[in-house]
């Protein structure tokens, strides 16, 4: 233990505690910071968290200096307050004066720090950096003029996702964060997960806007505009409207979408159930033949991009199932079009997704109709939909509950939990165990695969003869650990579930910025969002995908058998190695 004084108060903390942590845990003083994140490596570049230490002739960055015995720290002396404000002013003076028109106005860490440190006027004037703005990507836009070089995106891309796409290029005044060769995001090893957007304290990264296209379709009387909402949206959409964290808002979400003018509101959960039926069938086939195991799940499009760029040799092991969004879009432009007699060209499908990679997925050539049109016309992130609802003047929290349209709106509890890490695995196990043993599992809750940790390996005893070995990873650095162990032969699994984003879709790159008191990758935040999904699942009577009556009916009326020819044509896809090949 180390004893020191902070602002003349004596405190004792364990050795290796930083000044920042000591001030926060012992005295409740939150020293302003920008580049610091507890789950990322230390950078100490923004200098906003400086403090005075007696006897040290310069100000110290409290995030990266450990306390020592007898240390005397001042966090709020007049000199330090002035210095901190100067530092923030200098950041602002190399930053566009565009708060009023910025995506993050009102939800920007730089803006908050500027207010908190007392910047009320801008004293310094000088040259400001100018960089081209990238806004023609499929998923992630980049505005380096708003970048403050805190490096949070760089560290996230490297440490959390293992993608290493972003790095600081150049030096001094012309330093810029970008992919190699200053390439655009689509031409780089970027996997479009959007975690750089979540990590950025400003709006140097944002999702590629699709709201205009959706407003236009909604106003077009010739278009039949259909929404489908991903499992994770219902757990987070309330956050933007003051609802308590982790409150499911399924019914209000449906009502809001109807009020915005969507002709039909369907549930991606329906096709999450369908995914499970197809994927469990695929697994059982491979399992019986003893080939191509482990089966790698394929519903996370960020992970699919990672597979194609970083682990192309594992492509044959990936499930060929399309993502639930792609399955729904495919059905909407075939089955649904036939049922309703609407020309598929007039159906405008909008995916409401927690995900930026889904925007990229929707542009994939292999997911187009015979006429070459995208099956999914537009993808909105949770943030974009939140803005649209507010823009329309609707308070989602005050809306009555609505219900999804039939028949593509009915789902089992297994589909709800798709939105959290381990959820796809649990949903698949509910069905696979029944198919293997001939009886439903004793409990629907596979507590073993539940948790928001990044990496889990479990053995599940199905019966006396069979134990299934499963791996669950979220965050691609964790996925690498599992995949490398498989490739080296060190470990064997039957199924590996991979979700690109930390926590799964609830922590997706398109989810709301964390509310006050939380930060990205925050386990408390992820646990609350996951709890919303588990509570919806727990309240349902049908909890296994293969028992969803609407799914059974769809096979009888239209698809034939799971894994059959028609199902293959409409619900499965193919992958291919993509360049540039990532360094793993």
């Amino acid at each position: 233990m180390v004893t020191l004084t902070i602002d003349d108060v004596k405190v004792t903390v364990p050795k290796d505690t930083t000044i920042m942590a000591a001030a926060e845990t012992q005295l409740g003083i939150k020293i302003p910071r920008l580049c610091y994140h507890p789950d990322l490596s230390m950078q100490g570049s923004c200098r906003v968290c400086i403090v005075e230490v007696k006897g040290v002739p310069f100000y110290m960055a409290s995030c990266s200096v450990n306390v020592w015995e007898g240390m005397e720290v001042q966090t709020n002396s007049p000199a330090i307050r002035q210095a901190r404000r100067d530092i923030v002013e200098l950041l602002l003076d190399n930053h566009p004066r565009a708060c009023l028109t910025c995506d993050r106005d009102g939800n920007c860490e730089l803006q908050n720090v500027a207010y908190a440190t007392g910047v009320r006027e801008r004293l310094f004037a000088g040259e400001r950096k100018r960089f081209p703005i990238e806004e023609d990507g499929s998923a992630v836009d980049r505005n380096p003029e708003k970048c403050i070089l805190c490096g949070r995106c760089v560290r996230t891309c490297e440490e959390v996702q293992g993608v290493h796409n972003l790095s600081q290029q150049g030096r001094g005044f012309t330093t810029v964060v970008s992919p190699a060769h200053n390439d655009n995001m689509d031409g780089s090893v970027c996997i479009q997960c959007g975690q750089c957007i979540a990590a950025c304290p400003t709006a140097a990264f944002t999702e590629h806007d699709n709201t205009e296209a959706v407003w236009k379709a909604l106003a077009d009387p010739k278009k039949h505009v259909v929404a489908q909402t991903a499992p994770a949206i219902r757990a987070t959409i309330g956050e933007g409207f003051g609802m308590a964290l982790g409150t499911p808002a399924t019914g209000k979400l449906v009502t809001a979408l109807r009020r915005l003018g969507f002709d039909r509101v369907f549930d991606t959960n329906f096709t999450a159930d369908l995914t499970i039926v197809e994927e469990a069938t695929e697994f059982l086939n491979r399992f019986q033949k003893g080939e191509r195991l482990p089966l790698l799940t394929s519903c996370s499009p960020g992970w699919v991009n990672f597979l194609e760029k970083f682990y192309p040799e594992l492509i044959p092991y990936a499930s060929t199932c399309r993502s639930p969004m792609a399955m729904m879009s495919s059905l909407l432009k075939s089955y649904y079009a036939e049922q309703t007699g609407i020309d598929p060209k007039d159906i405008f499908v909008v995916g409401i997704m927690p995900c930026t990679a889904k925007k990229f997925e929707s542009r994939r050539p292999e997911l187009r109709t015979a006429d070459g049109l995208p099956e999914t016309d537009a993808v909105l992130t949770t943030r974009e939909l939140t803005w649209m609802i507010k823009n329309y003047g609707i308070n989602l929290a005050a809306l009555p509950d609505g219900s999804f349209d039939s028949p593509l709106g009915e789902s089992s509890g297994a589909a709800d939990i798709f939105g959290t890490t381990g959820g796809v695995m649990e949903a698949a196990l509910r069905m696979a165990v029944e198919k293997i043993t001939g009886a439903p599992p004793e409990t629907m809750e596979f507590a073993d695969v539940r948790a928001v940790e990044g990496l889990r390996e479990r053995e599940l005893k199905v019966n006396d003869q069979l134990t299934l070995r499963v791996g669950v990873a979220n965050g691609l650095t964790n996925a690498k650990t599992l995949l490398d162990a498989v490739l080296s032969g060190e470990k064997e699994f039957h199924i590996i579930e991979v979700m690109a984003c930390p926590g799964g879709c609830i922590g997706g790159g398109g989810q709301p910025y964390p509310p006050e008191g939380y930060r990205i990758f925050d386990k408390r935040l992820l646990a609350k969002r996951a709890e919303a999904l588990y509570s919806i699942d727990g309240a349902k009577t049908v909890r296994s995908s293969n028992h969803n009556p609407a799914i059974k009916k769809l096979y009888t009326d239209y698809l034939g058998t799971p894994g059959g020819d028609k199902a293959h044509k409409l619900l499965h896809t193919r992958y291919q190695p993509r360049l540039p090949r990532g360094i793993r």
Binding site: N165, A180, H181, N182, Y575
Partner: protein
């Protein structure tokens, strides 16, 4: 154990193309470095070798280094763009260094530099489209008595005035033409 070679594995293909972008000597050097536990710490040394051979760091070469040394391409370009020593564009046949040290500056180096830019139609750090001249600024060359000084390849030209620039450039154009004729181009 799982087979690591499947039809979708592009590892060898990417590797083959990387090797083609470099020379056998550089590839051999990278392979020695890649065996080191801290392979990435050899990045700067490898880039030195690439620049020594090619005269600059081209996109293909940097990507090849990334693949063979297994260092992310964003790191390779990050390092290459950080150090002034590394060049990302091919150098001209004649590299013109304008001394911008104190003495030269005081005696009018800037006017000489402006005239060079004007005559060549390029900025500092650029190369003329015909590949003949690159223009660079440098710090004191240690010949302050001759200020203002420019250096073309390894020759010093002192007491420069802006008006001397056109003739000096013309002399090098003629030299290049003469050399080309001798080499039968």
């Amino acid at each position: 154990m799982m087979p690591v070679t499947t039809a979708t594995n592009n590892r060898e293909e990417v590797r083959r193309r990387s090797i083609e972008a470099l020379t056998p000597e550089i590839v051999a050097y990278i392979e020695t470095c890649a065996q080191d536990a801290h392979a990435s710490s050899h990045l700067i040394g490898v880039l030195h070798k690439v620049q020594a051979h090619f005269g600059y760091l081209g996109r293909e070469q940097m990507d090849a280094v990334a693949q063979l040394l297994q260092v992310p391409a964003s790191k390779v370009t990050g390092v290459a763009t950080f150090y002034h020593f590394f060049r990302l564009e091919p150098r001209g046949r004649f590299v013109i260094n304008v001394c911008l040290g104190t003495a030269c500056y005081v005696k009018g180096a800037e006017r000489v530099a402006d005239r060079l830019c004007e005559e060549l139609g390029i900025h500092f750090g650029e190369t003329t489209r015909d590949g003949l001249f690159s223009l660079e600024g440098t710090r004191c060359l240690g010949t302050c008595g001759l200020a203002p000084v420019i250096m073309i390849e390894d020759r010093i030209f002192g007491d420069m005035t802006p008006d001397q620039v056109p003739a000096l450039l013309e002399k090098h154009v003629l030299q290049a033409q003469r050399e080309d004729r001798q080499n039968g181009d």
